[in-house]
Symmetry: D3
């Protein structure tokens, strides 16, 4: 199967890191097709940036879906996830969603640990959108800033481990979800320093999407994610305009 | 004071209707400055279209805010509302938000009545985002489609009244919120046919925004809507890039 | 328009303070008509005192409503608010309600800061009655007592600012609501000491009530606040007995 | 032990009916001391009337507590219950509270069945105050009015049984709570017509209060129901003024 | 009346302690019939042990119910309570359930205080099963282990009092529930050291069960606890097999 | 990898059906090891039967885990799931859990459709245990009984399709979860008759468990599912006694 891995950030280095982590999780017959946002910011960390990214994700899905069996929106806040499910005929999953749902099979309550305080409100809204607040122990972020998004794993490793330990001790987390594409692959470095399981979202996303594809679920023609009626539009890239106008199939 | 009224739909006819209704609600010293989306669909009715609109709203805010004291995002699902609050120094409100919060002072539970079944999932998520589900009696939509967005008030008047009556009788609604910019101004036509108060969101939005402006609230430098740190960006319109990069003030 | 401002406390000094703050918020054509409780305690701070005040509010509404367009119950716990909506044909709002709903347009979660620990349980029940618990960050009160209700603003200013700062830092409040009629007008003194917006409930109440009056909403004849059927009664003041007995119109 | 049974309605016939039902539930050594409201309405059915009753309950408690070991507020909405707990040193329970909590030991979800549609909003708020909404299956009321409060059991028996049956069949109620003092004693008439257990609130209230008294619980000096500090007051009956002013012990 | 007191732990010393506390709470005409688990662990403190105990409780109920009017499952997590209600024709209550519901008549929010950290997850699930989380202030457990289950009251008294005090001061508990059969009878030792009421679950359970028996409630033939249809079975003790197969009546 | 598939029902025919469905979902290198309950009832449909099954699951896990990498509790109510996670070092999942969490990636709200009305209360409690009630649209069961558990798919196919269609139309379900081991494999027969995706729980369980095993998560030594301390026991099968007593590793 061919899986579209959409990085809604404009940093190709984050795409590379996501691919490295996701590749370890694919089945033998799965090909990952990476695509990086052409518009936006190097690393999404606010609602403003997510609002832009949601639109960009629509454009990337419309443009790159030929021969694709499923897609991953590879930013932790899952920008545009609900919209993507309306737009496409194949399964789409988000990094936050698959990380959290996988965590739910391992503990009663999970904590999200990430690297930038500005992310907390957006991440909180993501948990609320998925209606998993009852399963959330806490969202833990450092008070200090990172200096370079590409080195955030190395630079912040000690801090992130300490946050995870606090989540377990003080917030009663049973499992940790590392939030944010730049943390992909970190789990294996810190496995023994954290007393509960830790979820790598990129790996979880690939495996969960493969599961959905293998289940051969039908496209809904009712319910919240059925395809909306055809619409005319103004000013959109041609592939997206055709998809919204039902002129593509 | 000068209020920016952003119509995230591309239909100028909806802008006109919003202005007609909003104008009846302004104070003597208030000027409404309308602006219509340059990209997107004539009438937003799905998450896909809201995802595009959220981005467009960011662009319109960045471009049209000189001399503005506050802004209304004039589509019922409040696309981009949280992001707009991060982005701008002045108050921003949404049509759904102000309609619902005004309704909360009139009844314990409100019902949203609108004109297109496709809107229901997006409206439901809007109520959830505002965490007002406990105050929601129901969302009622017709099963049939409208033929023309500009005539939807006339064409659907009987249907909308019947839906409102059912919301009161069957769902125990204490107050009705007419959802969707195209219904602006309808309230006065049907006042006597519905046994509970009905809220016109465009009128409520103008008055609520005036209240926020008059309270002279400070711009937060902490909390969920404080301004995010400056960011470089790629491919954005120059005004929005400057605003996100903190190069505008 | 003429607005009845009911102070359910027996202290005329609190009525004066409320009037000073509310007057700054009225439109040019609005007249505020103050009335002070004739029975009860100087400052309501417990459920006992609120139970008494709820009855007193009914009596004051029945007695003072000639020529009135709307009423404010000017104590933070909103004593008798639901009952007042059943009783009167015009809009009635409460200090807590309007403060909290206004805060909801400024932040995701608000904290209530007030001056006496005894108030916390009653305030908590007020938030629950309005079903706004999901939007509540915390209720913060000092551990120490005030010496004189008339000087509480001056005496407690430093403490209240510190509580508000803690609400932001520790409880993630995005906006502060100063709770209690004796704090009316304090906001402008401390604006620069608190990093998020602060709501003055008396000002918010006046503006919100004006909004409801201007919307010319119909009196409900269905739903939770429709007028109850006529009832005979025993031992009530004549105006209230007539109003309950439907002998007044 | 001596139990004060407060009927917040002014109808002595309701007091008699309550006493008849409660008397069957008392232990051998328990004496019931009935007292009927001197102010208010014959039968409380709205928030207005409950607001008045809450005040009256304070007065009756202050006046009639000599030699009393505990009190029952014998109206289903529990008017003044929280205030009564602050006011008195002995246990106080409400009809709704004890009926619902007893029901919780018999089924997962209970329905409240009563005889007048106007009662529903007040009853709903009572369930919310006790935070038992998750255990509530429904509140079922007839659409038609009763003609005489004293005959409501006889007149409405068939209707009430049908409502209870619908609550079981359509709302998945596991147990029925008959709501309202005038229904005291009805349970034994309809036992075989309803397929699940039915709770008589007056009987439950007596037994639950006896349990609290026998447990010899201490008066709280912390928490939500600790006694508020002494207060001066204006215009209150002397016993209540003394109790609020801490001049009675 | 004859009440079956089932100790799902295998320790006879715990049965003795339960009997000592429960005996002080019975009415004159009540006989307590104790029975101790024949299979399992000396003291249940995990979900594993509760899973075993749930089965054992079914066996004990089936075997010992001749001439019995009601049963208490005398372990705080109420193992098998829902199943027991399906199985038996008489009322069955649990130690946690009756402790918590009794506490609800004394405070708005209760804290559970117990003696072993391992109990917390199981106790939390018990509160959730009863849907009383909104009434829960906290669950407080010591960090240190006890040395002997029989001496846990003496050994841990100081610690338990300190935990209860913290629950009041830091978690805003209005009432304390001592969790766990081995704490039966401790309340009277510490009454003056804790500023709010404390519930002894064994005493509460006896009185609550007597209340249910006296109410002469009918056996439900609908709803969640109606008796399941007859079933064949394999490998069960003969009394339980007969009860499940409806061959016993 | 080797996966233990535990059928907590005593019917070997259900084990066979589970294996047929699960086998279609395994990876090439996965071996399924089936085991059938030796004690209990042919098909679990009540809390009584689940209470027995929870104990049996503990015994089967302790006895059959040599060389096993993970286990599935293959009954929809997930009997003993939390206990199993405490007991074993490898991942354990339940049929209901994996079906529901998989459904959450396909729709906002799922409905559970099954074949016997008696199952509804137990299934409801399962959804509550997993704290997924916000994602639940409804539980739909037929009113009529099936005649033979082995033929329930064929016998009930038309009925189950109609229930699923009603769940979509009336309850706004976005995805259907077929509940109950006897329905394994039915999805492919009815794919085109239901307008939304349908989840086969046995297939989902295998794939989700494989995902957990591949993630190589560490055994928690903190949090809700850490291994409880060693305990002595009485009357348990030797393998279970050794596992509980930590004498097995």
């Amino acid at each position: 199967m061919r899986i579209l891995l959409i990085n809604p950030n404009t940093s190709v280095s984050i795409t590379d890191r996501l691919m490295a982590s996701a590749s370890t999780a694919t089945s033998a017959d799965t090909e990952l097709v990476p695509v990086t946002a052409h518009r936006g910011v190097p690393y999404i960390a606010s609602r403003i940036e997510a609002a832009i990214a949601s639109n960009v994700v629509m454009e990337l899905l419309a443009e790159h879906s030929t021969g694709i069996d499923g897609a991953i929106i590879a930013a932790f806040g899952d920008p545009g996830l609900g919209a993507a499910r309306e737009l496409m005929d194949y399964p789409v999953v988000g990094l936050a969603e698959t990380g959290m749902l996988t965590a739910c099979m391992v503990g009663k309550r999970f904590s999200i640990v990430s690297f930038a305080r500005a992310l907390a409100p957006w991440y909180r809204e993501t948990v609320e959108w998925h209606q998993l607040v009852d399963r959330l122990a806490s969202i833990r972020m450092p008070d200090t800033d990172f200096s370079n998004i590409n080195d955030v794993q190395t630079e912040m490793q000690t801090t992130l481990v300490a946050l995870a330990q606090s989540a377990v001790t003080e917030d009663q987390a049973d499992v940790i979800v590392f939030g944010g594409a730049p943390l992909s692959g970190l789990v294996k470095e810190v496995l023994n320093d954290i007393p509960v399981p830790v979820i790598d979202c990129a790996a979880a996303a690939v495996m969960q999407l493969e599961t959905l594809i293998r289940l051969k679920l039908r496209r809904p023609i009712a319910g919240t994610f059925r395809r909306p009626p055809a619409k005319p539009s103004t000013g959109l890239p041609p592939e997206l305009a055709r998809r919204i106008g039902h002129q593509d199939n």
